[in-house]
Symmetry: C2
Subunit: 465 residues, 2 copies
């Protein structure tokens, strides 16, 4: 590799690099061919090489009929971890044709958090079927987790953990772990608890390994740790993991007693879900996945389009006011989308930054006014720049300097409004407890459409007629 090749960002290698991980599309075709040929040994051989996460992707990507054939071919070779990796809609479908006996056997291998994730959205009959497969103690533990609210730390946590009293030595700790039938997996920290089960500190495994056998746990434990209340929302948990670079954190009940542990893989999942939700909501899409069916998708997108229809009609009502001006000067109709569209774009830019900054908690009461002022200024400067451009365009295209002035003035006004609306609307929604990603876009483009048409047609009607 030459030095100049090293310098550039390796975007062009993407095609090749993509192949490095994940499910290759050749594998998908080969599996589909083998299913078609009803060649079960070939299917099993192909699938055997796949990581559970890749197999889950495969199950998601193929059609419903192939999916059923694949699950039936896998039979009791189906790993419960694969099911817990599936998207909700596909998981429900798959569980419908998994043999209950197979499911029962498979579920026993899972950590409690994966069982919870697997059953939480099931219908009662199916849920009961899975829970019955568990040992009585394990079942109690899963049901306790299920008693916590959706999207809470209690749902994310696993009950499998290693705890110890502060007066134990490193030697005792190691001996106890060696004696344990099975250690939790994943497992990164020992939690030191008092007799009432309240966490006193955490010790990363690396620190235990680096300490001599006589060392007391109380000497090496980290007392400055984050105990997460079981009722805390999953996105706050994700924030704590990301902000403080945690890999594992104890979860406590309302009395401060240790009830479980959340590990980084669960937090990563929650972070991904949160970013996903923001992206989809900003794009005017609800909670939708690629595996959903046509009818579900159509229904979920309809309300957003309906809201947009209302705002589009609002814009039409504004245009309607200036019907006579348009009839008298038809260039107004030709040019009117420009100012509105530029405002919509500028407003979307600002609100995108604002929504992200609110999500990452970079935009707070402390810097709110400075950010608002800055957005207004950015809107004004870009407004001036584009005013010059469209002003010239108005003169050149229609040969009317006054039309240029109308375009320019409306542009400055609308980009200023776009900057202000783009920051003020998400802030206001956040203040009243609504998700700013959910509705900001519609509000902001409604404002910029209405103001854009009003300014352009209003000033145009006044100056040109």
């Amino acid at each position: 590799m030459t030095e100049s090749e090293r310098e550039r960002r390796p975007e062009a290698d993407e095609e090749r690099e993509d192949e490095a991980y994940g499910l290759g599309s050749e594998v998908v075709s080969e599996v589909l061919d083998a299913l078609e040929a009803e060649d079960a040994p070939r299917v099993l051989a192909l699938v055997d090489d796949l990581h559970v996460a890749d197999l889950a992707d495969l199950i998601e990507q193929i059609g419903s009929a192939d999916r059923e054939a694949l699950i039936r071919t896998l039979g009791d070779g189906l790993d419960a971890e694969v099911i817990s990796e599936l998207d909700e809609s596909v998981r429900d479908e798959v569980l419908d044709f998994v043999d209950p006996a197979v499911l029962a056997k498979a579920v026993k291998e899972l950590n409690s958090d994966d069982v919870v994730y697997l059953v939480e959205d099931l219908e009662d009959a199916q849920k009961e079927k899975v829970l019955e497969a568990l040992d009585p103690e394990e079942r109690v533990v899963v049901e306790q987790s299920l008693a916590y609210p959706d999207y809470s730390a209690g749902r994310m946590m696993q009950r499998e953990l290693v705890k110890a009293p502060p007066f134990w030595t490193v030697g005792q700790m190691i001996d106890s772990m060696r004696a344990a039938e099975e250690l939790p997996d994943p497992f990164y920290e020992v939690i030191v608890v008092d007799p009432a089960m309240k966490p006193l500190g955490v010790i990363p495994l690396g620190r235990i390994m680096g300490s001599g056998r006589p060392t007391l746990l109380s000497e090496i434990m980290n007392e400055d740790f984050h105990a997460i209340p079981a009722t805390q929302e999953s996105d706050d948990v994700a924030y704590a993991f990301s902000q403080y670079h945690l890999v594992s954190a104890p979860v406590v009940d309302e009395d401060g007693r240790l009830v479980g542990v959340i590990t980084i893989d669960d937090a990563v999942e929650a972070m991904g879900d949160e970013a996903e939700e923001d992206i989809l909501r900003l794009g005017g899409v609800g909670d939708e996945s690629l595996a959903d069916r046509v009818w579900d998708i159509t229904k979920s997108r309809f309300p957003w389009l309906a809201v947009n229809l209302v705002t589009a009609i609002l814009a039409s009502l504004v245009i309607d006011i200036f019907e006579e001006a348009i009839q008298a000067y038809v260039a107004l109709a030709v040019l009117m989308p420009i100012v509105a569209s530029m405002g919509g774009n500028a407003g979307t830019q600002t609100l995108t930054v604002a929504v992200r900054a609110l999500a990452t908690r970079d935009l707070t009461a402390a810097n709110m006014w400075r950010v608002i002022g800055r957005e207004a200024l950015v809107g004004l400067i870009n407004g001036l720049a584009f005013a010059v451009l469209v002003g010239i365009m108005g003169v050149v295209w229609f040969g009317d300097p006054m039309l240029g002035v109308v375009l320019a003035v409306a542009m400055i006004g609308n980009l200023l409004v776009a900057g202000l609306a783009g920051i003020a609307i998400p802030l206001a929604l956040d203040r009243v407890g609504a998700d700013p990603a959910l509705a900001s876009g519609t509000f902001v483009t409604t404002v910029t459409d209405v103001v854009g048409f009003f300014l352009f047609l209003g000033i145009g009607g006044w100056l040109l007629l």
Copy 2:
């Protein structure tokens, strides 16, 4: 807490829960007050309680003048980790007024990956200043990392790691770790290497702790691990960590020799950056942070608005074709934004889902045609639904059944086109190696605007005049 309160998603508690972690806005005000009063001991006391990540947020959120005052007040109490937590633009600003001696001392405490992150975007003079502060060996290590491309695994990895030969026993391993002056932090896995330094397997610390002293490392090592090439792109690394729930992975050079290790905190950072980039690009914003200055923001948003201006002009040119029809029938001008706006919205919905599915690798060659067919069908069904609504509206508002027909037909056509363009354009951009998040939005809304105006005005001119 009652049962019904448990059931609901605890969104309303957000205000309170937000306070659980992160920087409180009271702290920011108190620090600003103390800086104002030049009360250094009070500033230091307030800041002392903060986690490095929260202190970094504080430095980002306050204005430039306060920022400088705060850094000067902190003096040699400034932790280099705080600097490595800062956003790029703020970090460059802060480094300008940090005492080089303070910086030199602080940098020595960092892992190699944090030093790399700190210096990679510095100007040469500043970079040299930081590198000079390092021990010669450490400097070599950092410079080796810097030789890898931006956004590559080589830049993300830390050089601090624990390796061992396969013939070592657990006892030897533990003794060697106890004897080590310092163990890496973070540290989750021992990497087993052959004499040529090629990784043979990894052993999570938990497994070492659960095994007896005589156990050979080769017996307990995990041979099915992911070795990451140092030149691999950071978003592929992030994908591997997320897909396979990794916490740590060895990094190898082109000869397959171990050169470093990437830990989950770095991968989480890369995942966050990737989601952030997608969100911002979909919103028509470049690489922008809340801490950027007015002029930088204005410049970075200008090109996107300029592209939008071109597409808006394109739409105007389409309208211009039908100037006579509008003059003859002005209701066309009043209603024309509706069809275009609905198409833009529907197209944005589809492309948002497509861009995300491409990013998470759920949309592949294997399911592409099925997804395209589905999007066309969703567009058609929603097109029919809204055709009925706007058809009725055309009749009721303007009392002209034919106008209702025009609206309805144009709506069906544009929503169908929106669904197809919304999926085809991101797929095509991805195929040619471009980032689908970057330009899809503009292309899709250009298509839906042009088609929307063309269909509505074209059919209108034909049927109504």
